[in-house]
Homo-oligomer: 349 residues x 2
């Protein structure tokens, strides 16, 4: 059938692999009846687990390999010595057209290095980026880069804006997305040179939707822009600072409701509403970091996630395939190359 989607899974990546991966795939199969899996990993571990999930087993092909990329392996080492690893074979499957996308909860750096090496970047893209959704007052905002590139020049930032714009238009169906560049707000502080150059280029680039210029850290949660563009250093720290703050408030809240009998009783009454709140802030809901700019769909699940979180990461890869993200991003870059010289110049580095 034409609408079948095949996802390659690195069955050995993540803290609770392969158990978590298989249970996550099982949940994803229920949600997406048209999905099939290519599962790479140790047969002796995978086959017995699959016996427990007959319906999953029916849509899964296991490809055996003994080799696994360690969580703390240096990406350069993994790239050289991990050619038979479950991660690498899963990526190869996408490159060879056997799978529509790959999902791994393994070593982020190794996944990016291998995906970049095997799949290559799309024409016009210098460096891929890691993107993810942040919850906001208005819904969700896509932020990138979250750690693939510590140092970014203007050209990289412009690329990220184009990639993010294409993503929210195709996957979220936004026809008029807003894109902002993350910067510091004080009048004195001007931000890096690269930011100003990128701003000038994006003002001229006429991306579909609207370029809203500079946004600040608190604009992420406000939902000021549908896409927030930043370098990988700042993005990674913003992501983890937001996660840390949410964890802190959650803990304060737990202590608050435990602080008195009355508060505890109040919590019981508000329980179902509180459950909704927790669900809304559940990090598993936002699991699935997207590698953008590659010539192939690659999704990184949090290493410590559970089956539900992993199923969400698989869902992200399926959505990307369904909406033709690769083709759309490729077309957008091709169109931009026809644009006025100021853009081409920056886009050429």
């Amino acid at each position: 059938m034409s609408d079948r989607v095949t996802i390659a899974l690195d069955a050995m990546g993540g803290d609770n692999a392969p158990n978590m991966v298989i249970r996550g795939a099982s949940i994803a199969r229920q949600r997406h009846p048209n999905v099939e899996f290519l599962m790479f990993g140790r047969e002796a571990q995978l086959l017995p687990l699959l016996e427990r999930w007959k319906k999953l087993k029916a849509v899964t092909t296991v490809v055996h390999t003994d080799d696994v990329v360690a969580g703390n392996e240096k990406p350069s080492i993994a790239l050289r010595s991990g050619r038979q690893s479950s991660m690498r074979l899963a990526i190869n499957a996408v490159h060879e057209g056997k799978a529509d996308g790959v999902v791994s909860a393994g070593n982020t750096g190794a996944l990016m290095a291998m995906a970049k090496f095997v799949l290559k970047t799309l024409p016009g893209v210098d460096r891929p980026a890691i993107a993810a959704f942040f919850p906001t007052l208005r819904g969700e905002t896509l932020m990138l880069d979250l750690g693939a590139n510590v140092m970014c020049d203007a050209r990289n930032l412009v690329d990220f804006a184009v990639m993010g714009n294409a993503f929210v238009r195709s996957v979220l169906g936004l026809t008029h997305p807003t894109v902002g560049l993350l910067n510091v707000g004080s009048e004195e502080i001007k931000g890096h040179e690269a930011l100003h150059e990128a701003r000038l280029v994006l003002k001229e680039a006429n991306l579909p939707g609207e370029f809203v210029g500079f946004v600040e850290g608190d604009d992420i949660a406000k939902g000021t822009a549908d896409v927030v563009v930043t370098d990988g250093f700042t993005g990674n720290i913003a992501l983890k600072t937001a996660e840390g703050t949410a964890m802190l408030i959650n803990e304060y809240m737990r202590r608050t409701f435990k602080s008195s009998l009355l508060a505890g009783f109040g919590y019981l009454l508000a329980r179902s509403a509180m459950r909704k709140l927790r669900k809304r802030l559940d990090p598993r809901r936002y699991n699935g970091a997207i590698f953008l700019g590659l010539n192939g769909i690659t999704v990184k699940s949090h290493g410590g996630t559970d089956a539900l979180g992993f199923a969400n990461a698989i869902g992200v890869a399926i959505d990307m395939k369904k909406h033709g993200i690769i083709e759309k991003t490729r077309a957008d870059f091709a169109a931009l190359m026809q644009r006025p010289p100021i853009f081409r110049q920056a886009a050429a580095g």
Copy 2:
């Protein structure tokens, strides 16, 4: 009396100045019976307001000036044309020894530019930094720089570590403070060159307490280190991202408790506990950004704060004076200059 503290106030800075400033000073006077104020601003506005606060009036000297630095004024312009502004005269008072510290809720960039120009940096300090407290699971963490320096080299980061270390030892009384350098965590991503250089220097520097090396964004809320050091770009974005996240969860919570009658009733029961929670997260509690590395106490209040927040900022300045922060920071830098060459070399730029 020897323990009297005189604080110079920029009475015209901030969204609700001078009313907010005067009411804030009144609250601070109640909290700190040994405080006196030098208030700079428009006499015609200040004197009638002071009539309402007789006890405050008794410890306040008003110095008239018509000139005010606008909130959107460029720092370089403010520095040149604002020589008679309330902000500048308040800073001058510290320089001339008439006041022990200055507090302003005005233009951050202008305040930093003027304070640096008038007060100068301490011997051995290349650039001052902006520091503030973040709430954590373990109490509070001091983070700097929050926006004074967009680009920082290794030497700046080392200076910030020394300044932050001196601050928490003297003002918080920590005898064995931990200091960390903010970095990204993934194995692949190594962080900027400056971070690695600063790490090497700090490992050798033997600051009082412990240097814990690199920390990540979520370590801020975890309270992994008493002092977290970063460049002003990253710090500013981390601060505002944390503020935005707290605002978002607060809004989600408000909606949650309003979502049903039962939840609303639950809230009523938990009300006093919830009030404690809100108090704990009240941004006014953390108001008062500290300018460190200057030869004089300078505190920046949030421009949009109210009297309570401004009183807290005044409290920060009084605490800094009480604990001799300037003398201690000066002594720490002097001591470090005697250290092994690796440090002196970096500290000399």
